[in-house]
């Protein structure tokens, strides 16, 4: 940019001013001037003509005042603006001709100060020292239009539901600005309309929540669990207030708001002030409590007095009160910093992680192939053997570590569930206390989403049917509030998730009665308690009405069972009459590995999931039956089970055709059991599941492939699919 071009910019600005009507700068004109000033300042910068930059800053301030409508003397403002432009022309011309300007611009800047009432800062164009404009005439619109309020109620409630859905997404992906925006917007809209309708409480709360989210969106504060909690609670409070409004309009008795708005607003403020840098660590108070120095009551009291003006730090308050010594506080603070550094994590794209895990899987296979080749050589090099052994040990731990990468704590799922429990309990009129244990237990990220639905089903049952009403509980001598506990822990290669309630428990007698009537059992004498409880998982026993009178449990428990089994998990039930029920589900930690039995049919090798296998046997000839129209059966432990000849289904030439010469594997599907005829069982192995690729996605009877130790590929069988194939459904 040359001085010449700069002069032209300034002259353009001047001519714009000349063509202005009535010596009045309106908003569109301000916008135009602002853009011109910006261009001038930008052009002046590399030429180091600071006078021009300062003047344009000053003029910008005047324009801002005009835009915000708080210039006390518009006439003076216009004059000063005009003088500024003339001065700018002079400066740019001087620079063009002589390369410098000797005049003093300070008197002009002082004049600007007189106009706008603040010191012109010479460093920045956007100073936030201009107060927000006075709103309108101060006299708010009085629209008490009932139809409008009704619209607001229905649309507002809709928006709040939307918030609840989106916030769960936010929990999964806390840094996503767009997600924050989708939550921000409804609050914003609710606030806007509420302000027109004079609904001050709603407006204030929505406004506060909106501010909080705005800060989160601008990365001023981080999205932490407390923030999400406070937003959810805020949304609940808004919902409650809107429902109150609804009752009011419909002339219904208005339910009292059992939410303390002041406390909520305070909580919002606390979250808002939370430090961006150290949000994920334990709070000072929490550390002091866990060190056993203070009780939570002490902390809560101190927090309140620390927040009340004059605002102090928590540590200061505690020391002043003599509760702790300064040394203890500083120790706790040090711990806090340590935690902050501990928490250093790295966010990695899941796909990259999956690729890595995949490659490690391939590596493991290759390694086992080398090992097997080597073991077949008679004169293998001793050193090589030793090195390979070491190599495979490292491989094993590499595989274990890479699997761990995908593991995340189950905490989020628990939090989602606990919220659901609270809501369900509230709507069922059964107050509950929620207890959580083992939130840090880790599970494969992919599993997290999969297990959620069955768990929700179980929780729903526990609250709907397991827990008694408060009145019943008091009569039974139990605390009024029910207890629902969620527990998670690792056992073997599985994660166990327990959902317990302290409700009425299952009624054994009635379950047996019902099962008997339905013909699900022939006599109850041989059944253990566990077996009886498991009956509620059977389809016949779990259609809604029946179950409510059997035991008050089991809406779609068969559906739950199916969902759990699909994830290769299983359910155990324990219950004590009058003391409650525990549903314990165990899932494999990952869906990437399957425990399977490797079988051979002809020259082909298949993997049958161990979970589905009941037993494997070689039947005696007498136990084989072939009935016309019924097909072939094998008698296994007194039951006649259909025989499925795998070689028929897959068109393979088998080694043996007679069941009594080969082996049958008894396999359970969703609600039936069949015998699969195979030539021999090779062994049992944990295999890494590989998909067959997009082209072979829906092959019935086959759920995937696995590369076996000898490098061969074995198809993993899907029992249910095999059964369907054998029944000719496909």
């Amino acid at each position: 940019m040359t001085g010449n071009a700069l002069t032209k910019l300034v002259n353009d600005l001047a001519s714009d001013l000349v063509f202005l009507d009535d010596r009045e700068i309106d908003i569109p004109a301000s916008g135009k001037f602002m853009n011109r000033l910006e261009a001038i300042a930008k052009a002046a910068e590399p030429l180091k003509i600071n006078e021009l930059i300062h003047i344009s800053t000053g003029l910008n301030h005047i324009l801002e005042k005009i835009v915000f409508g708080n210039l006390h003397d518009p006439e003076l403002g216009y004059d000063t603006f005009e003088k500024g432009i003339v001065l700018m022309q002079e400066i740019s011309e001087k620079y063009e001709q002589t390369g410098h300007y000797q005049g003093d611009i300070q008197p002009f800047l002082n004049a600007v100060v007189r106009v706008i009432g603040v010191v012109v800062s010479t460093d920045s164009l956007c100073q936030n020292d201009i107060p927000a404009p006075v709103q309108g005439t101060g006299d708010r619109a009085q629209i008490q239009d009932v139809s409008l309020v009704k619209d607001f109620i229905s649309e507002g409630l809709e928006y709040i539901d939307e918030i609840e859905v989106n916030i769960l997404n936010l929990e999964q992906d806390p840094d996503n600005g767009e997600t924050i925006n989708t939550i921000f917007r409804p609050f914003h809209s609710i606030k806007g309309v509420a302000s027109f309708l004079n609904l001050e409480k709603i407006r204030d709360l929505a406004h506060n929540l909106e501010n909080l989210l705005d800060k989160a969106r601008n990365m001023e504060i981080r999205v932490t669990p407390p923030l999400i909690d406070v937003i959810l609670d805020g949304a609940d409070a808004l919902k409650a207030m809107i429902l109150q409004l609804k009752d009011e309009i419909e002339n219904q008795p208005v339910k009292p708001l059992n939410i303390d708005l002041l406390v909520l607003l305070q909580r919002i403020q606390v979250v808002e002030k939370s430090d961006k840098e150290a949000p994920l660590t334990q709070k000072l108070g929490e550390i002091l409590v866990s060190d056993g120095l203070l009780t939570e009551i002490d902390i809560n009291r101190a927090v309140r007095s620390a927040l009340a003006p004059p605002v102090k730090k928590l540590g200061e308050v505690l020391i002043e009160e003599g509760k702790v010594t300064p040394r203890q506080v500083s120790q706790a603070l040090r711990k806090q910093t340590e935690q902050a550094t501990d928490a250093s994590t790295l966010r990695v794209d899941v796909h990259k992680l999956d690729d890595l895990i995949d490659m490690v899987g391939e590596l493991v296979i290759t390694q086992s192939m080398i090992q097997e080749d080597l073991s077949r050589q008679i004169n293998a090099d001793k050193n090589l053997m030793r090195d390979i052994a070491l190599f495979s040990r490292i491989m094993t731990s590499l595989q274990r570590t890479s699997m761990k990468l995908r593991m995340i704590p189950i905490r989020q799922t628990f939090q989602r569930m606990s919220r659901l429990i609270r809501d369900l309990a509230k709507s069922a009129g059964k107050p509950v206390v929620i207890e959580m244990q083992g939130e840090e237990t880790e599970i494969d990220r992919k599993m997290i989403d999969e297990i959620y639905n069955p768990l929700v089903h179980m929780v729903r049952n526990a609250i709907d049917h397991g827990l008694e009403t408060p009145a019943e509980r008091i009569r039974a001598g139990k605390p009024e509030k029910g207890l629902v506990s969620l527990r998670a822990y690792h056992r073997g290669g599985n994660i166990v998730i327990e959902i317990s309630d302290d409700g009425r428990g299952l009624n054994k007698g009635r379950i047996i009665d019902k099962a008997f009537k339905k013909g699900l059992i022939s006599n109850a004498e041989n059944l253990s308690d566990q077996d009886v409880y498991k009956l509620i998982l059977l389809p016949g026993l779990s259609t809604a009405e029946q179950v409510t009178d059997v035991s008050g449990r089991g809406v779609g428990m068969d559906v739950v069972k199916q969902a759990v089994e699909k994830l290769r998990g299983k359910i155990d039930i324990d219950s004590a009459a009058g003391r409650g029920t525990t549903l314990s589900t165990s899932f494999p930690l990952t869906l990437a590995i399957i425990d399977g039995m490797i079988v051979k049919v002809g020259s082909e090798v298949y993997v049958i999931p161990t979970m589905a296998i009941r037993q494997a046997l070689r039947p005696v000839r007498d136990h084989y039956n072939c009935v016309v129209n019924k097909g072939e059966t094998i008698k296994v432990m007194g039951q006649l089970l259909p025989l499925v000849r795998l070689y028929d289904l897959f068109g393979i030439e088998p080694l043996r055709r007679d069941p009594w010469d080969s082996i049958v594997v008894v396999v359970e599907g969703e609600n039936r059991t069949k015998c699969l005829l195979v030539d021999e069982i090779i062994g049992k192995a944990e295999v890494v599941i590989k998909s067959l690729g997009a082209g072979l996605k829906h092959i019935n009877g086959v759920s995937g492939g696995a590369i076996l130790g000898d490098g061969r590929i074995g198809l993993i069988l899907d029992p249910e699919g095999i059964f369907e194939l054998s029944e000719g459904k496909i």
Binding site: D26, I27, P28, S30, G31, K32, M34, N35, E38, E64, V67, F68, C126, N128, I130, A132, P133, Q135, G136, T137, D139, R140, A141, I143, D145, L148, D151, F152, E155, G156, Y159, N181, T182, F184, R185, H188, S189, I190, K191, G192, V193, S195, F196, L197, E210
Partner: protein, 127 residues
């Protein structure tokens, strides 16, 4: 006088559009078109002659500012008056709108009178 003006009200919140519609009716503007976001608004602008746009700032898909910029960049709509509705005159927002060529802005909540004043001011300039 200018009561025949065709006004486009853009807001994602239906109740808000109704609020503004009611306010406009109070001061005699009856010819009102609504759009629920910037994209539909722009489509409406291209398909019919609109005399004034009243748009919310914060909307999904296309924000009020984006709509303003799109309108100003359009040869036909360059001079269509544009009144921006903002929540609390957030300084940066207002300045951004002004630089993008907004005709005026109005802070929620507002009365019918204030709205009318702003509209008159904009229209007078055009005449």
């Amino acid at each position: 006088m200018d009561q025949h003006l065709k006004i486009l009200v853009v807001d994602d919140f239906a109740t808000m559009r109704k609020v503004i519609r009611n306010l406009l009716k109070q001061v005699g503007y009856e010819n009102i078109v609504e759009a629920e976001d910037g994209i539909t608004a722009f489509r409406a602008l291209k398909s019919q002659k609109i005399d004034l746009i009243i748009s919310d700032w914060n909307m999904p898909n296309m924000t009020g500012l984006e709509l303003l910029k799109t309108v100003r960049a359009d040869e036909e709509l360059k001079i269509t008056p544009f009144l921006m509705v903002t929540a609390e005159a957030l300084q940066d927002n207002v300045i951004a709108a002004v630089k993008a060529g907004v005709s005026n802005y109005i802070v929620k909540p507002f009365t019918a009178e204030v709205l009318n004043e702003k509209i008159k001011k904009i229209i007078e300039k055009l005449a």
